[in-house]
Structure formats: structure tokens, C-alpha cells
């Protein structure tokens, strides 16, 4: 592709339409942005994790004290368990609903476009607004669910799963819709000739063909749930007790409530490493890296 472009644009340095691969300068804004707002803070957090700093004056080096505290913090084990549990349950809930909705939305039914647009609305709202909304809906005296939802461990946990799902299912539905649209029509036509019904087609064609889409969606969900924060902050504040205090919430508490930025940075660094490792493992296991296109003729 690029060679043909070179021949075509040979001798023309200015004017006219230039196509082809952009040069290295084009990535500069992106690289700079990433360096300033992602890499630099991460390096800084790593450095701070070896210091004691309350935000005033200069950070004092304390060696491995924060890491030692992190390893021996009983809340870490609890927090890890809740984080993993929340990720897995959210993943299961969101995937099942998103696949069904997405495949449905990929069809050509009446009103499909209108309904899909309505389903998408929750994703456009801010997490904070959504959390405040559900906070009011869960009020035991005046809400629509009048139990002690947020006061019980399972209630608070399920509320987080549900609210997260309510917000993010539209996004994953969109991904699955795109995935389902790409499945070649001929596969279904062939299956129909072989006498496969709707259910059979779904199990034997749609689901296997959505494998790569599922990987994308899963990585986004899992990494996303590791940084699932606003909802916890507003809806449960990590409670009852510390039962829903996921890692990002612990980090926030250490940093912006207790002003122990050293310890907060240790948790942050741990999160970065865990999230990176987890997504690498997911990509490796699913073969996403060596993925081949499943599209017809490509």
C-alpha cells in the first residue's frame, strides 16, 4: 500500500492530497501527553512509595516501610478479595447481558435503532450522577427498594455490581453489536440450510465468532473494575465497615483523607502492576496478541 503511494506522489512535495503513513512527528502530541499525564505520575508515585509525605514540605525517605505496612495490612487481603470478587461478578453480569443485548441490537427488527439509542443513555451520564441517583433510590424510608441494602454486606456488594452494570452494559452492548454485525451472513445461510434453529445458530455461530470481541470487552471490564471508584465513594464509602473497600478506595482514603501520600503511592504502584499483569495474562490466555481476523476473505 505504501509503495504504490510513494510512486504516485513521487516528485510532488507540496500541494495536492498527500496520503500514506504519517511521519514520526504525528505521534509526538500523543507521546507527550502520555508521558506527562501517565508515565511521569507513575514514576513519581513509585518514588513516593519509598517516602513519608503528608503533602507539606519535602518527602522523607523511609525505605521499604510503606511496602512493609502494605504487606501486613489486614485490609489489603480483604480489599483484594473484594476487588477480585467485584471484578468477576461484574464481568459475569455485564457480559451475559451485553452479549444478549448486543446480538439483538445487531439484527434488523422494528424499533431496534430507537431502543438501542435509549439503552445507550446510562453510559452518557456521569458515574457521580448515577451513584447519587441510586443512593436516593435505595433510601429505606422513601426509596423504591426499602430494605437495609447498603447496611448489609451482600446488599452493598450487589448494589455496586448492579449500578456498575447499569452504567457500563450499554458500552459493552455496543462492542458486541459491532462484533455481531461483522459475522458473515453466509454462515447463517449455510446453517439454515443444514436445518439449524435460532438457538443452535446462536450457540454454534454467533458465540464462537464473538470470541475476539469478548476478549476486548473482558479486558476493558476487568481493568475498568480495578479502577471502579466513584460509585464506591458515593454509594457505600467502603462500608458497611470495610466490606466494600476496594483497592482504589483504600488508596483514596490513605492519600486524601489521611494525607499519607507515601502509603497511598505504594497502593497505587501495586494497582498499576496488578492491572498491567492481569491484562497481559488475559491477552496471552485469549491469544488476542496473535489474533487473526475472522472476517470473510481477510
Amino acid at each position: 500500500m505504501s509503495s504504490s503511494v510513494t510512486t504516485r506522489t513521487k516528485g510532488r512535495t507540496r500541494g495536492g492530497v498527500r496520503t500514506g503513513r504519517p511521519n514520526a512527528a504525528w505521534v509526538l502530541p500523543g507521546v507527550l501527553f502520555f508521558a506527562f499525564f501517565a508515565v511521569a505520575p507513575m514514576v513519581l508515585a513509585f518514588y513516593l512509595s519509598f517516602t513519608k509525605w503528608n503533602g507539606l514540605g519535602d518527602p522523607q525517605p523511609v525505605g521499604l516501610a510503606n511496602w512493609d505496612k502494605l504487606i501486613h495490612d489486614p485490609r489489603l487481603t480483604q480489599s483484594l478479595t473484594v476487588t477480585v470478587l467485584l471484578s468477576v461478578v461484574s464481568w459475569a453480569f455485564q457480559t451475559v447481558v451485553s452479549v444478549l443485548l448486543g446480538v439483538w441490537a445487531a439484527g434488523r427488527q422494528r424499533n431496534r435503532a430507537v431502543l438501542s439509542a435509549i439503552f445507550f443513555v446510562p453510559f452518557l451520564l456521569s458515574s457521580t450522577a448515577i451513584s447519587l441517583l441510586f443512593y436516593a433510590l435505595l433510601d429505606p424510608n422513601f426509596g423504591i427498594i426499602r430494605g437495609d441494602t447498603l447496611g448489609s454486606t451482600s446488599g452493598a456488594f450487589l448494589a455496586l455490581v448492579f449500578v456498575g452494570g447499569w452504567q457500563f452494559i450499554p458500552f459493552h452492548t455496543l462492542i458486541y453489536q459491532g462484533g455481531a454485525r461483522q459475522i458473515p451472513e453466509v454462515l447463517y445461510q449455510a446453517a439454515m440450510m443444514d436445518g439449524a434453529g435460532r438457538y443452535r445458530q446462536f450457540i454454534s455461530i454467533t458465540l464462537p465468532q464473538l470470541r475476539n470481541t469478548a476478549t476486548t470487552s473482558t479486558v476493558l471490564m476487568i481493568v475498568g473494575s480495578l479502577t471502579y471508584f466513584e460509585t464506591v465513594l458515593i454509594l457505600t464509602q467502603g462500608g458497611p465497615g470495610t466490606d466494600t473497600a476496594i483497592l482504589p478506595y483504600l488508596m483514596y482514603e490513605a492519600g486524601f483523607k489521611s494525607y499519607d501520600f507515601g502509603y497511598a503511592s505504594a497502593i497505587a504502584t501495586f494497582l498499576v502492576v496488578a492491572a498491567t499483569a492481569l491484562s497481559l495474562v488475559l491477552v496471552k490466555l485469549s491469544g488476542f496478541g496473535t489474533m487473526r481476523s475472522t472476517r470473510e476473505g481477510m
Binding site: P29, L56, D139, G151, S152, G238, G239, G241, T242, E253
Partner: protein, 435 residues
């Protein structure tokens, strides 16, 4: 495409230049000897409009001209004020004067030598000396040194009750703990939740323990804790307070689902106003909240009283807990000290006191006593003022009083006690382990 990216670069460049310019302006105010403007950081809730008006008036006054400086007020959105203040104080653009709650909220700044000791200034100043109620001044001090000038209304925690409901069930507001338990039992029998409690926010639960500890062990128990010695939580009065709270919780005094009720979204106030609960232990601001959303209820049904004494306990019924006031503190590196002090002096003025009263606040200036007749709710305003005036001790809310590294873990321990995840004994040992 090309023109797009050029525009982008121009835009980015302009942003950078603007940012650099802002930084330059900011750091400019941090240096310099005499003269120059003074930056003041204030908690940006609705009440900040009074400080906005005060600053405008002050900047036009002779006092400001004499000090050769004006106040520049910066309002910080309320919810994350403490964290924003911390960031600002750690930067080269630290404010000269800033809003705070006294106690633990300024401890770190004192330790970092960022606070101006106002003791001598206040004691030798004709205007500031004796201008404020002593219990309130004490709460703005650390280790006997004064660091704050009271600048808003006092907010003691008060036991509110529904007068109409009490009359219907022939009840009197409690003055002893036994009476409180008796009322509790009678209301439960009548299928009314005795107390509204916004347990989802945790700090309303804290108020119960604050008062119980004061009434059982006296104010000195917490005063010792506040100094930062975690073993002071081992005082038997702490365990007794936790047990008394536990007894109420288990007996259903707050209903079954108080942990899902929020104060912040008015859930607890609504339960109180709609007769689902008969009493509500809350800061004095609850009255204005109720006036705002349930005006009829607030005017007709709401009564108030002190938290009862605990039988056999050593705390005085006149002791109070809550927020004595908010304070202005001054940065040790203030650029124009004369202007800053002149501004603080204005907080003792009649004009400013009147502005607070008109807004429904109860100022803690000594002159306020004779001015409260003009308050929107004179009876309630005078009640609060006398409560503060007569209090032998005014304990600052624990979450503001203790050092920040204790505050959150302490609230977590309280939450665990209230949801039944830890026993009173575990509660005490959890608090003793605070670092």
C-alpha cells in the same frame, strides 16, 4: 488536516502561556514584605456569600487602605476543601489566610511551621481581645496557642424532638439517660422509630459516641485522646459509651435500616419530618435544613434540648460537642501581615456579626448576645448562643479534632460498631491500635 493540527498547536501553546502566566501571578503574591494583596481561601458553600460581601466591604474600607493591601477571596468547592487546602498549602502558592475547623484540621500546618501564632496579637489588640466567647477561642487553639479567629456561626449538636408526637404520647424531653431509655421503649411500643440516624454517612453515628463519652467520663477523656496518644482510648469510659450505644442499636432505637439512611441527601431529616422518627441528634444546622425543606414542620413541631446526663457519669449536661465555629488562620509566610490582621479584626465587627445573624447563623462574638433579637428565629438562636456561652466544655467533632491519619480509620471503627461487625470490646481495641 494540516490546518487542524496547526490550530491545535496554537491552542496548546496559548494554554501553556496562560498557565505559565497564572503561576507567575500566584507566586508573586507569596513574596514581598510590606503592602500587597492577601489571598484568603474559604469553604465555598452557600454561606460563603457572607465572606464575599465582607471582603468587598473590607477592601473599600480605611483599614485596608492603611494596611496598603486588599483581600483576594478564593472559594473552594465545599466537598473536597480539606484535600484542596492541603495541596495549596504544600505548593509555593499557599494562601495567606485560610478557613479551617481548628483542632486536627490545622495540626499538620502547625507541625510544618506554617501557622502564625496569633496569641500575642489577640491579647494585645483592643478589638480582638475579649471579642469572642472563650470556649470557642479555646477550640481554635493548639497547645494553648491561639491560631484562629472565629468567622462563621457556632454549630453545637442538639437533640431535636417532635413536640407534637411527644405531646400525643405524653412524653417529656429526657434529662437523664434512664428517661431516654424509657421514652425509647414507649415509642417503640407505639411503632415509631425513636431516633432518626443517617448511618450511611457515618459521622451522624459519631455524634452519639461524642455525647455518650462526654456524659459518662467527662470532656477530659477525649481531650487526652485528642493529644494523639492512642492508649487513651483504653479509658473505661470509652468502652462504656460504646456499650451504651450498642444497647440502643440492638434495641432498635434507630430502626433496622439506619445504615442505608443518608443525612447528606436529607433521608434522615425526612424521616424525622414525616413522623417516622421522633427525635434526631444532629448539628444545629438541622433546623435551617428543616426550615428549607419542611417549613411547616420546622415551625410547628420541632423542639430541642440538651443531650441527657448519664446516670453515674461525670459529664455536665451543659457540656456540648459539635463545631464550635470555623476559623480564619494565617499562614506564617503571610505577605502582608497588617492587612491580614486588619481583615481578621473585621470578623469582630458589628456589621459582620449582623450579616451572619441575618443569614440565620449564631456568631460567637461577645457583642452578638444583644443582637440576636433580629435573628430569623430568635428563640432558637438565643438558645444556641446561651448553650455555647454557658458550656463548661465544647468538644470539637472527633473527626475534625484528631489528627488526619486517625480520622478515617476511627470512622470505620464506628461504622463497624453500628452495623454490628464489631463488639464494643473490639471497637476499643481497634481504636487503641490507631497510628
Amino acid at each position: 488536516m494540516e490546518s487542524y493540527s496547526r490550530r491545535w498547536f496554537l491552542g496548546a501553546g496559548a494554554t501553556l502561556v496562560t498557565a505559565a502566566g497564572l503561576t507567575a501571578c500566584g507566586s508573586g503574591s507569596g513574596s514581598g514584605g510590606s503592602g500587597g494583596d492577601v489571598t484568603a481561601l474559604v469553604y465555598g458553600d452557600d454561606a460563603a456569600k457572607i465572606q464575599t460581601a465582607q471582603v468587598k466591604r473590607f477592601n473599600a474600607s480605611a483599614a485596608a487602605k492603611k494596611a496598603n493591601g486588599a483581600i483576594k477571596l478564593q472559594k473552594i468547592p465545599a466537598s473536597d476543601y480539606p484535600a484542596k487546602l492541603r495541596t495549596a498549602m504544600g505548593s509555593p502558592n499557599a494562601p495567606d489566610v485560610f478557613f479551617n475547623w481548628g483542632g486536627g484540621s490545622i495540626l499538620a500546618y502547625q507541625e510544618a511551621d506554617q501557622l502564625l501564632d496569633l496569641t500575642d496579637t489577640i491579647k494585645s489588640d483592643a478589638v480582638l481581645k475579649d471579642a469572642f466567647l472563650p470556649t470557642v477561642m479555646a477550640a481554635g487553639s493548639l497547645q494553648g496557642k491561639m491560631y484562629g479567629i472565629p468567622m462563621r456561626g457556632t454549630q453545637p449538636v442538639i437533640l431535636f424532638y417532635n413536640k407534637t408526637l411527644f405531646a400525643e404520647h405524653k412524653l417529656q424531653p429526657p434529662t437523664t439517660w434512664d428517661q431516654l431509655l424509657d421514652i425509647n421503649a414507649k415509642l417503640k411500643k407505639a411503632k415509631i422509630t425513636p431516633f432518626a440516624l443517617g448511618g450511611a454517612d457515618i459521622w451522624p453515628e459519631l455524634m452519639w459516641l461524642e455525647y455518650l463519652l462526654d456524659r459518662i467520663g467527662g470532656p477530659q477523656v477525649f481531650a487526652k485522646i485528642q493529644e494523639g496518644d492512642a492508649s487513651a482510648w483504653g479509658d473505661p469510659a470509652v468502652l462504656k459509651a460504646a456499650q451504651a450505644a450498642k444497647e440502643l442499636i440492638d434495641g432498635g432505637a434507630f430502626g433496622k435500616s439506619f445504615s442505608s439512611v443518608s443525612y447528606n441527601n436529607h433521608g434522615a431529616s425526612a424521616a424525622f419530618a414525616k413522623r417516622k422518627a421522633a427525635m434526631h441528634l444532629m448539628g444545629s444546622w438541622e433546623f435551617s435544613t428543616l426550615l428549607g425543606i419542611f417549613p411547616d414542620f420546622a415551625k410547628k413541631d420541632v423542639g430541642w434540648c440538651s443531650f441527657p446526663t448519664y446516670d453515674g457519669g461525670s459529664g455536665d449536661i451543659r457540656n456540648i460537642v459539635g463545631n464550635p465555629n470555623n476559623y480564619w488562620s494565617v499562614n506564617a509566610r503571610v505577605s502582608n501581615k497588617d492587612a491580614a490582621i486588619a481583615f481578621l479584626r473585621d470578623c469582630a465587627s458589628k456589621t459582620y456579626t449582623q450579616a451572619l445573624i441575618d443569614n440565620g447563623d449564631v456568631p460567637t462574638t461577645t457583642i452578638a448576645e444583644n443582637m440576636l433579637g433580629s435573628a430569623p428565629n430568635p428563640t432558637f438562636a438565643k438558645y444556641q448562643y446561651q448553650m455555647v456561652q454557658n458550656a463548661p466544655a465544647f468538644t470539637l467533632s472527633w473527626d475534625q479534632a484528631v489528627k488526619p491519619s486517625w480520622s478515617q480509620p476511627m470512622l470505620t471503627e464506628i461504622s463497624k460498631l453500628f452495623v454490628g461487625k464489631s463488639s464494643p470490646e473490639q471497637f476499643v481495641s481497634g481504636l487503641k491500635g490507631l497510628k
